[in-house]
Symmetry: C2
Subunit: 166 residues, 2 copies
């Protein structure tokens, strides 16, 4: 598996038909045991002076359940952002192949093209593109695993679903 193209091929001489994929942001996303995400945010504030810039509760857990799950909180450390999320049933499926719960979330308008390109380069697509709660901020999300064991979530840009909690 994944033996296709890690030799740098296809970078400058790719087919003319290949789509350009633009990523609007890259954010590491940490999934923690439900419902420790709030504690984790507090810890990163205390330990590293992180600043919380966004917090989105799980839309399905607001009214009828005791434990409101944190879909994602965004914290800033310097000029970088990290997303912290409670593991839900959906996200557990999404990240069950990941040892530490640490993945990368790449935001783009064209999830399909991004996944295609990554798979052509040697990544392995994991599962289908899903809508909703699994990751990032509740938009559409697909997943690839790279030859180095890292899982990449290819997600709808955050601005498109920033008011999922509204």
């Amino acid at each position: 598996m994944a033996t296709e193209a890690t030799n740098g091929a296809g970078e400058t001489n790719g087919a003319a038909a290949e789509k350009t994929v633009t990523f609007t942001s890259l954010k590491p996303q940490l999934f923690v045991e439900s419902s420790k995400a709030s504690d984790a945010v507090a810890f990163y504030k205390a330990a590293f002076g992180a600043e919380e810039v966004n917090r989105i509760s799980h839309p399905k857990r607001k009214a009828d359940q005791e434990l409101p799950l944190l879909l994602s909180a965004e914290i800033k450390l310097g000029s970088s952002s990290i997303l912290i999320s409670d593991l839900s049933d959906d996200s557990t499926a999404l990240v069950k192949t990941v040892g530490t719960g640490l993945v990368f979330c790449l935001e783009t308008e064209d999830i399909e093209a991004a996944i295609d390109k990554a798979v052509k380069a040697g990544a392995v697509a994991e599962g289908e593109i899903t809508e909703g709660e699994g990751a990032c901020c509740g938009g559409r999300v697909g997943m690839v695993k790279d030859p180095y064991g890292i899982v990449w979530l290819i997600c709808t840009p955050a601005k498109k679903c920033a008011n999922v909690d509204a």
Copy 2:
């Protein structure tokens, strides 16, 4: 272990004597099996259109050994940077507690104060502060593991050792 302060304590009412710690950057750093780091950089270029912005060879491996190890290559994806490094004997020791080889590198001028603050918040210091080859770009580096299993390298800012390969 690590049961101290994940409850958000000590954030606004900390002792007046506590030093302010400033981080100049946060970069995820991926350690891969030696010497696959170059392949990994090529893969991330092909898969995600990453741009290589810096490459530092291992200073000790230049003349007298067959396999030049990549101490770290910095790639840009959107506005974010990721460091890719070959595992060396030193870095294997540094990251042996990490499942995926993925850690965070936090750059600061005051490594000791940063580690102190993180440990007070509930992180666990791992090993001593070391000089050299283990991580980042060859400056001083310390390591803490947080209560969520993530390893943080607290490093000298990159600008201070950018010409280690010169």
